[in-house]
Amino acid sequence: MARVMLEVRDLTTKYITRYKEDVYAVDHVSLKIEEGKTLGIAGESGCGKSTLALSLMGYYFPPLHYMSGEIIIDGQNITGMKPDDVRKSILGREIAYIPQAAMNALNPTRKVIDFIGDVVRAHDPTWTKKMIYDHARSLFERLGLPAEVLQKYPVELSGGMKQRTVIAVAVTLTPKVLIADEPSSALDVTSQKMVIKMLRDLMESGFIKAMIFITHELPLLYNVADDIMVMYAGQIVESASAKQAVFDPLHPYSKGLMGSIIVPESGLRNVKLVAIPGAPPNLKNPPPGCRFAERCKYVQAECKVTSVPLYEVGYNRAYRCILSETELRRAYEHGE
Amino acid sequence: MKHTLNQVFHSGKFLVGFTILMTVLVIVFVYPLIVRTPPLQIIGQGTFFPPGIYVSTYDAINAPTVYTLNLPDAEARRIANRLTQEDRIAMKEWLVAFGVPEEEIDIDDTAQLLAQWEANYDPNLRLPGMTFARHRYFQRVNASIDGLLSTEGAIIAARNPETGELTEKSIVKQTDFANVNDIANVRILTLGTDNFGRDVTTQLVAAAGVSLLIGLVAGLIATTIGLVLGLMAGYIGGVVDDVIMFVTNLFTVIPTFVLLILISFSIGQDRRGAVTIAIVIGFTSWVWTARAVRSQVFSLRNRDHVNLSKLSGHPLPRIIFADILPYIASYVVMAFILQISSGILAEAGLSILGLGPRTTETPTLGLMMNWAMIYQAHILGKWWAYMPVLLTIALITFSMNLMNTGLDQVFNPALRD
């Protein structure tokens, strides 16, 4: 078995709203990524996938709060570390994050090189300006970005260039794990391709060891990820290999998400999530039973009262439904 | 719509502001129904009567029933009331000079002070170095204290119209009382009178009303102009936008205040009524609304629902009323509220400069302030002539600002934290 780069056990985090209500946006999530693998996370907006990304960093600030669970990065358990130690030795070094709206992820009034300087010095104040510049320059060259970018302000960069710069900044300290939250959703098609290519190159060259890729664009996920996890209302509802998740989804929610994908790959390109009627439950007081019950086509009386655990079905696969694999498959055949 | 209103009225800030404003409005409308004196009628002969209940002395003497009340502390109160602060300080000075220890004297304790005075004062004693005038002053103080201590009543006399002789009619004893309910003329002046002898409260209520009206008219004009120009610039674009933006930019930098002064002065004192001033203010303060509306419309112009309407061949007014206005309504309402409060402030500023509405018709908050300043109420310590005015202005604008902040928080959720 390959080296496990990131392991998360039973992680639960919550938001505290300004009315002092608790919202459990990540609810007992476990996951494991091996070296060289990319894990995709899919789900509608508001399903908790972005919060999961934030929670994986092990560094919490209001309104997000840690509740329970463990995060182990390359064998190092960071749970219980002091926040300032996490900041200094984990963030950017072991695990890095590319935010959802990367277009605005750079301080607009700071040159790229100065921001890189801030990042480097936050971890090691002994670096000189010259060292930082040389390091940044060689990094940018290696990633195929023009070195002039370093001397520019973010406003002077095009959207695609800005996004690639953000990625370059994120990997400045050669983190092992990279979490990319919708890194390409706001870009035009050409820039999207370049960003995706850049991320793939980073993985293939071993610059980063593992990646979590979050998006609501399924075709993209299918192309990038090795495994896919589907999230709904703060919980994992299905996890499987990319191929199984897309072509043979088990959970009715995954089925709904993937349902519209047409088989020929060329046709996949612009298919986005189809709307599933209804809206996700309010996480301030989630329903006692299955959280998808309200919207599920195959709902049973039992679904609304008993909470459903995640069933491991072997062959690296799990789903959260009271129906068996066979029952589900039969239902889908009839439904179609 | 209903949902939004519901949300708005759940905002604490908005609610507080709204309540204050409504209270002011209710007072403005209800008060004139109770007190019917015209606000600018001069009732007091003299300036700056302090707040209080004014009882007609004449009616009190002629009250139908005279009650005798033997109040134990009546005398002490009377003396305490009549003995001025200046006299008390002088008395203390004398007593200290003639050997009474300073710490034993409390000039606020009338009874003790008088006792000490009685025990120690000797009209023949004179301090070395004391001027003769000062010496006489102390003798006068002593005489008036003796007068205060007298228990005789005051004589009411009538003059015989033929001989001119005075004949005693009655004596008002120190224990005589009249019931206020029996006295025909009692006037409550909660805030006293101003420099011209006019009732400040009545004036203030009327002024608040007029100022609100000025704010409202100015706000309506400014908002309408701003809205129309903003809509045209934002929706039509092109040359229209360029021209409108050029004018808007001009008026953004030229201080409104200066324009107001020039225009008000040019209009001339005789033609400056409250509404005229309001119109002038309105015509000089539309710039911000126009800018805000334009940028909103700009971003709306190419939204799907607007395009759909255009493609469906809907007429322009319909597109504007159905597809654009509802989306910018919140901004326009907020701008309107701000315009009202800044209109009230602008009027006040102009009036202080002497460029306010004509002074003979109606009071405004600014004019009241202006009068108080000219007659130096603030330096003379006549707080009732200006403080309530200031507070009213502040309260009205504060309520509007609160409402605005409340609305802002409802419509821009990022600011809530």
């Binding site: 560094y59 963030l91 990042v119 406003v155 | 201080p255 020039l262 402030l345 202080i352 400069l353 502040a394």
Partner: protein, 334 residues
């Protein structure tokens, strides 16, 4: 650098255009007064001045200055020429002083009072607003409503309150004037001291008003910036909170510079009225005297000077803004 030059020229152009426009307004508005303005003004004026030769002199001077017998366009150029020469004619109310004389005596008082007061108020307001956004909680809950209430006060209201509390009741400061009336303006220590004491109340009343408005704006800006995406990214890259706060405040502060430029006109207007309350010998009081004495030449010259000062200050602020905000240069060079 090219981008900045473009920005600079653009702003310079606007400065020139607005000034010309303001100048024209200053010329036209009083001429829209009904009837013959000169006759009307002099008629009103004649009652005030006991010196008949003075009235006559003013009348002639003013007819010449206004040139009312000539066509509008020619009048305008006469006006331009006179203004360029600094010739605003005689003051009606303070004859035989010239308007230029009256104004040059008061303009320094206004500049010395308002410039520092507005800058100090702006700085303090921004600091408080930033603090409120960052600390939140109790500080914010107290600061916000009080700033809001403070900024609801008309500028002269604050002046009156300070005057009553500190000059009339506590007697810490004098009630009016720019210096003790028994002194002659000079650079003696005694005069300086007197000036300093007279300076305090007008100064702080302007500062307080400025603080209120600025604090509210800065708070909103800071909250907006604190929620910006770059804050989140910087945090997750391990950058310390102190550093991030510095980012945020710098970025929130920048729009406040433009905000100041835009609010300057209103602030100056308010401050002029505060001057009046303290009978401070600046332009505000001069303006009031002009209005009280129906002294048209004085009013016209005062408004022109005030407009010029505000426009210049705005221009300087915009130029400064272009230097300190890199975004300006970048967007202009596209």
């Amino acid at each position: 650098m090219k981008g900045y030059r473009r920005y600079f020229l653009n702003k310079l152009g606007w400065f020139a255009i607005t000034f010309v426009f303001a100048f024209i307004l200053n010329f036209i508005l009083p001429r829209m007064m009904p009837g013959d303005p000169v006759a009307a003004i002099v008629a009103r004026q004649a009652q005030g001045i006991s010196n008949p030769t003075g009235v006559q002199a003013i009348y002639e001077q003013y007819t010449e200055l206004f040139g009312t017998d000539k066509p509008m366009i020619e009048q305008f150029f006469i006006y331009v020429r006179n203004v360029l020469r600094g010739d605003f004619g005689f003051s009606f109310s303070q004859y035989p002083r010239t308007v230029a004389d009256v104004i040059s005596a008061s303009i320094w008082w206004t500049l010395m009072l308002q410039l520092p007061a507005i800058l100090v108020g702006w700085t303090l307001g921004n600091m408080l607003g930033a603090l409120a956004a960052y600390l939140k909680g109790g500080f914010d809950k107290v600061l916000m409503p009080s700033s809001l209430f403070l900024s609801s006060f008309p500028p002269f209201g604050m002046a009156v309150i300070l005057l009553v509390v500190f000059a009339v009741n506590l007697k810490w400061f004098p009630t009016s004037g720019g210096y003790a009336y028994n002194l002659i303006p000079s650079f003696t220590p005694e005069f300086m001291r007197s000036m300093f004491i007279h300076y305090q109340l007008p100064f702080w009343s302007i500062v307080l008003i400025a603080i209120g408005g600025q604090a509210i704006g800065m708070r909103s800006m800071s909250i907006y910036e604190l929620n910006a995406d770059y804050v989140k990214f910087a945090r997750f890259m391990g950058i310390k909170d102190g550093r991030i706060v510095a980012y945020v405040f710098r970025n929130a502060m920048l729009p406040q510079v433009t905000g100041l430029a835009l609010a300057l006109g209103t602030m100056v207007g308010g401050a002029l009225i505060a001057e009046i309350i303290f009978s401070y010998p600046g332009l505000g009081t001069t303006l009031l005297n002009g209005v009280m004495g129906q002294d048209y030449p004085l009013i016209s010259a005062s408004t022109l000077i005030i407009t010029f000062m505000v426009l210049t200050a705005t221009f300087i602020l915009e130029i400064l803004y272009g230097v300190i905000d890199p975004r300006i240069k970048a967007t202009q060079s596209d």
